[in-house]
């Protein structure tokens, strides 16, 4: 499973908007690079990212090759109740990477 990195605050007040950050190690091949033999490296990207919390999708990103390698996202969620913040990345070949962090809501 590719290396992913997430940042969720440990705790938040109910109703507070908190910043969530997520990143995954992935070359996001845009189809314009050559290898040392001159062969074009085909497009290979993560196509989908979704963050779920408290039973709902917070944000879903449909990625294209125009995003940088090791795609990074920063977004906000409204804290409602304590629970897991789940992250899921889907590669164009179907590989799924997941990560999760606990959020305490006071």
């Amino acid at each position: 499973m590719p290396n992913s990195r997430i940042k969720v605050p440990e705790s938040a007040a109910a109703g507070e908007s908190i910043e969530i950050r997520a990143m995954i190690m992935h070359p996001m091949e845009n189809g314009f690079n050559f290898d040392s033999q001159g062969t074009t490296i085909p497009v290979h990207i993560i196509t989908d990212f979704v963050c779920t919390y408290d039973g709902a999708e917070i944000v879903r990103v449909q990625l294209q090759p125009g995003l940088s390698a090791n795609p990074y996202f920063s977004f906000y969620l409204t804290a409602t109740r304590s629970g897991a913040v789940d992250f899921k990345w889907t590669d164009q070949d179907g590989t799924v990477t997941t990560n999760s962090a606990q959020l305490q809501v006071t």
């Binding site: 845009n30 709902a56 449909q62 906000y76 409204t78 409602t80």
Partner: protein, 171 residues
């Protein structure tokens, strides 16, 4: 290299401190440029392709400029990773919030860069990521609100080293 008296050198990596190239460096640069243009480059999209990409996702209605704020550096020293922040002017209530937004670059080989779908529990209407830019161009954001109105913002970014070109010659 032709030896010249060194002019006063200044710190920093900004655009200030421009110096005349030695003739040899200029010839190398021109030669390199000619060579590069003879190599098959990724296609450069035009405004028609960008307009078509917007239509494909958001329909035929013309977005209104406003309610979106796109933050990008005025000058990006590397087109491979340009930080972008999109802020939407929206109260983010159940009845009045942003549904989705897309980012386009009008000279990239593929204008569409990403589409963001905002869920009902999304917080402060700000989203950040890093994008690739093939060269100096306009970055355009289009957003659809819950009342299905369309809004847009546009920012010009100067790019020193483009994303798609540089990697063609990578070792």
């Amino acid at each position: 290299m032709t030896d010249r008296a060194a002019p006063e050198l200044r710190d920093g990596a900004g655009l200030d401190g421009r110096r005349n190239l030695s003739r040899r460096s200029a010839m190398l640069g021109i030669g390199g440029g000619v060579l590069l243009s003879m190599v098959a480059l990724p296609g450069i999209a035009g405004d028609e392709d960008t307009a078509a990409a917007i239509k494909q996702l958001y329909g035929n209605r013309e977005p209104t400029a406003g309610r979106l704020s796109l933050q990008l550096p005025a000058l990006a020293e590397s087109g491979n990773s340009v930080p972008l922040t999109l802020t939407v002017d929206s109260p983010m209530t159940a009845t009045d919030r942003v549904l989705r937004a897309s980012v386009f670059a009008n000279r990239n080989p593929r204008p569409l860069i990403a589409t963001v779908l905002f869920g009902p529990k999304y917080g402060t209407p700000t989203f950040g990521t890093n994008i690739r830019l093939s060269g100096t161009q306009d970055v355009i954001a289009v957003a659809e609100m819950s009342d299905h109105s369309l809004w847009s913002a546009q920012v010009r970014v100067l790019v020193t080293v483009g994303a798609c070109d540089a990697l063609q010659l990578r070792y």
